[in-house]
Symmetry: D2
Subunit: 346 residues, 4 copies
């Protein structure tokens, strides 16, 4: 059993980490630190976990928790990793960062989109982008895993085979994404107030969301050339779940079934990617609570355009489940360890 | 006071018609017919309307109801207007049809997308597409108004000024729409079962929804040339509301504020279209229960693409409210009569 | 047209007041004051109201707004009326207070349950409890109307005829209430955070909710003797709506239909109370957005117990609609003025 | 590994059985039969389960499936067990029936409340009521387990310690229950149509719900005398979850903490019952997807009344999870096998 630390564990991604890790066959939760809430019984914050953990939250400040662990999950707002990660890495600890600080190879992209200096550019080179379906081999030896954002995870899995095969016209990719409210986190703000978001849908951060450059860097690497996307996220009144509807102009005429076979082939060894049967579009409910990404394809022959629909649970494959998948890869465990639960269909 | 008949009034659009008409200052509900439910007190079907109407549903079969009225709203499944509308028109009654039968100028388009012979092609020429913001003058004298579908209403209002000004590259228009479940109607089907659609979002009828050709015919007329769109509807777990996120490649570089001024100018005399303030994206909640269409614009300068967001209440501006607006135009009433209620923000 | 002021108008009850008053045939909104938000365009806070009001929020501090009006609605947290109400009353303005400060005839009850000194006990005698169905005559001349809480409104209307007729055993009344989340207000707190309350139901303030003594004072007055109730409020994941399920042991054997006739008789002149048909239980949806209270009765013959179900929209009959009803009574308007809209069934 | 059959497995309780059993360490799903849907791939009906089961639904008619299994779960509408259960029992198979047919010791009670002859009264004596916390020892050897209804499970666990200790006045028990919509099943009916039940709450089957006599029989056995309850179920707009708010007059004055200690003591060996910390009321969300029943107690000292709040996931502890718990008991497995997953807090 390896020992696991969660740094900043009282938000929703922290809760999901605890939910998954408390039944992981090869990992033991060593401790949880929290900026607020130190001294509190974790199961008093999340009463659901009563009986599953007796951990008392530790003070955030001192890095002692990660020192007595083998791996640390950092579930912090972006920009805060600087105090924790460099020292941990220096001591040989592995770090899986669920924030944005280690998702870019170039700190200038980070600084442009996040509007702040990178907290520790010196160690950026030691980080690998933690999307196992693309980077499995590099993750094994990475000191730091920059765990992907939810939108990029869902978008990149949706588009990779098409870009790999160079099937899309340049500049034609649009990603229209729909997310449940948990993506907004547990912090109080008017936008997540029940009466403000229930029974309503809206777009936000149109043409300016911070997950855009992360998606573009990875898709460009896949395509072997610069890929620019138009990305529009939306909030939908549900707790969990994300649907990406991605559009691209096809360079040549193919049909949906041809593309489906392409995807089946491409993802044939990927347990957590499920290509749907012909003509069946995925729903976010069908992956609830699980680490799956389900994908369907359609072609608008009149417009020569492909439409890819992909769904994930934004808190699992879009955050904490993928983080555990990365941990499994790093430590040579079965990639499904702790993650092999069927979804809650309803 | 004119006398109004509702033909096929027990579905959700029928209910909305009754809700609006029962307080209309110049129209009186003469009767409601129903295929099922004849003999029932309407306020027993919709208990909310207790005290607002005492109407007993009439038998659907005989067309007597419309004969004793000045205008008939037909809220029927497509293909059923044939029994009712031709006779009514022959007797000089005005008909506002909320189904699909009179939305196309060319019956072949109808037959291709609806997979059936048109029920009464001979009178198609006497029908006008009932989107007041585009067709007000023609509606005045139309024997039949083909009341637009919800998706086309929201999409056409979103895109008209751009196409009028010839600002979009050919073949670049994508309409990604999100609708509440009431758009599926009151008939029982698994897709509208609470546990199947709640806490979930999905695309459906991808690249094949029947509202596509209707949208294209109107947008082509606006643009003065053939416009093809890729249209993807989605179902979102809420009762009412529709958001269209429309994309197009801009022919020349303009910014969002320039476009906003274009829209403000274009819609300056349209009471029911509200262009949002700079930087504010509309939510479907903000038009709940009302006849408004709220619109915002953004530009993705990196991709040279405009993103238009427009919201309506799918049952009001997307169906019954617009039908009453058309009635007001036909009879020379104030277009706001019966429709000037503020939205239910929450 | 009378001039109306809203003191503290940026919360949900304030928004509902504006929504109702902006189409009131005999009242004109003179101004809105706000503790926070002074200087803001009200329609920027609630974008739904764009075009319905151009009011800029005024500073809360000075009482000038109410001086230039005929009546003031105070929509303030309890305890804050002291600065505003006494002076307004002295100047002969009528005040309708939507908070708790004027709901009790005895300031000691207020102080016991609210844990604070009453802000202005000297004027308590000039206040009348604003439940029109019980107090219409007294409201006409009241300087101050203490507008009832949502739970008491729904509970008192449910139980009054039974207590008036002395049909319930002492100590047998239980009120189990279910409220939508808007009852919690617009302030940010974890309990109204979407992911914390959606898809979940819970009881709160069990055996200690502040609406208990208010309900008991009014029911005791109806019964002509002390009535004690056990009251349990619950939060249900919906925006609006409240259902009270009230229980009492019957002193004598009667059936549901007998009781239904009793209620029909008792409420025969009350437009806003609708007794349901035999065997039909009300849903909160059927009164959405309206000022109605719908009531049904059942008898558990095995246990000799009556079960009364009553529903209201907590923001309308439970707050702002009732406040406008009180205003209509005070100024001799038709009690339905501004309130006669049909509910939004869905 | 034992072999398990599901008879009538295409509804929601069937789906939950498959979800739980597909990862059970000691049971293997042998087959699923279905009245409709025979020949269909189960994972096409519930796409969430793709990769977890490859079972093709079998024809319902012939009982061959149960013959080749060790235990059969019958997930049928009440009254249909007659064709299946007697024969299975005769062949020595164990049957866990999720319907109502084996929940009563006296067939006349069944016939009175269900309005039909019992399908197989001859074998009623061989059935045990499957609430492990009350009947564990008897379940071990039962030929048939009558798996409890969701409302009775939640109600009986809430009230047992109080009745065991004879603390409640006769005739004083009221059970006010709130259920998610999945309790209505997957069959299409207007009451589960999204737009009819979303954003609304209602009582139904007031004073006449069929779970009443089941609850009373078990509570009477606990109390050692006849217990009559008034039971009012409500539907709340959420998928899963049930909250029981139970009321009773206390015979003597005790406080909530005293009662809490009583419950802690009574349930100290019950893994699936969690008594909440002082002052914390349970939410249905905190048991989502799990087999837990969480309980809190409050006392209304003014009325001498106890209020017990208990929550379960109606599809798990209220149906399929409890059925698996019963299977574990029958076969001598760890009672937590397959059921030890933490809840989905959100």
């Amino acid at each position: 059993m390896i020992k696991v630390a969660i740094i900043g564990g009282t938000g929703y991604t922290g809760q999901e980490l605890v939910r998954i890790l408390c039944r992981h066959p090869r990992a033991k939760l060593e401790g949880i630190s929290a900026r607020s809430g130190a001294g509190q019984n974790y199961a008093d914050i999340y009463t659901s976990l009563r009986g599953f953990t007796g951990i008392i939250c530790e003070d955030f400040g001192d890095g002692e928790l990660i020192q007595r662990s083998d791996v640390g999950f950092a579930a912090l707002p972006h920009g805060l990793s600087g105090e924790i990660v460099p020292e941990a890495v220096n001591r040989g600890k592995r770090v899986i960062d669920l924030g944005a600080d280690f998702r870019f190879s170039d700190e200038r992209v980070y600084e442009e989109w996040y509007g702040a200096k990178h907290p520790c550019p010196a160690i950026l080179k030691r980080a690998v982008y933690g999307l196992p379906e693309l980077k499995r081999n590099a993750i094994v030896d990475a000191a730091i895993v920059g765990n992907p954002g939810c939108y990029p995870t869902c978008s990149i899995l949706a588009l990779t085979p098409l870009l790999k095969e160079d099937m899309l016209e340049e500049g034609s990719v649009i990603i229209d994404a729909k997310s449940g409210i948990s993506g907004e986190g547990r912090s109080l703000r008017l936008g997540s107030h029940f009466c403000e978001c229930n029974e309503s849908v809206k777009a936000y951060s149109v043409a300016g969301h911070r997950h855009t450059p992360e998606t573009e860097e990875q898709l460009s690497a896949v395509a072997g050339k610069k890929v620019t996307v138009t990305f529009t996220p939306h909030l939908v009144p549900m707790q969990r779940g994300m649907l990406v509807t991605a559009y691209g102009k096809l360079k040549k005429g193919v049909d949906a079934e041809w593309l489906r076979q392409l995807y089946i082939g491409y993802y044939q060894d990927e347990y957590f990617v499920r290509v749907m049967k012909e003509g069946v579009m995925p729903t976010t409910g069908q992956v609830r609570g699980s680490n799956f990404c389900d994908i369907s394809l359609a072609v608008d022959q009149r417009a020569g355009r492909v439409i890819v629909c992909s769904v994930i649970d934004n808190l699992v494959k879009g955050a904490s489940g993928q983080a555990v998948q990365n941990m499994n890869i790093i430590f040579g465990f079965d990639e499904k360890d702790g993650l092999d639960m069927p979804p809650l269909y309803l």
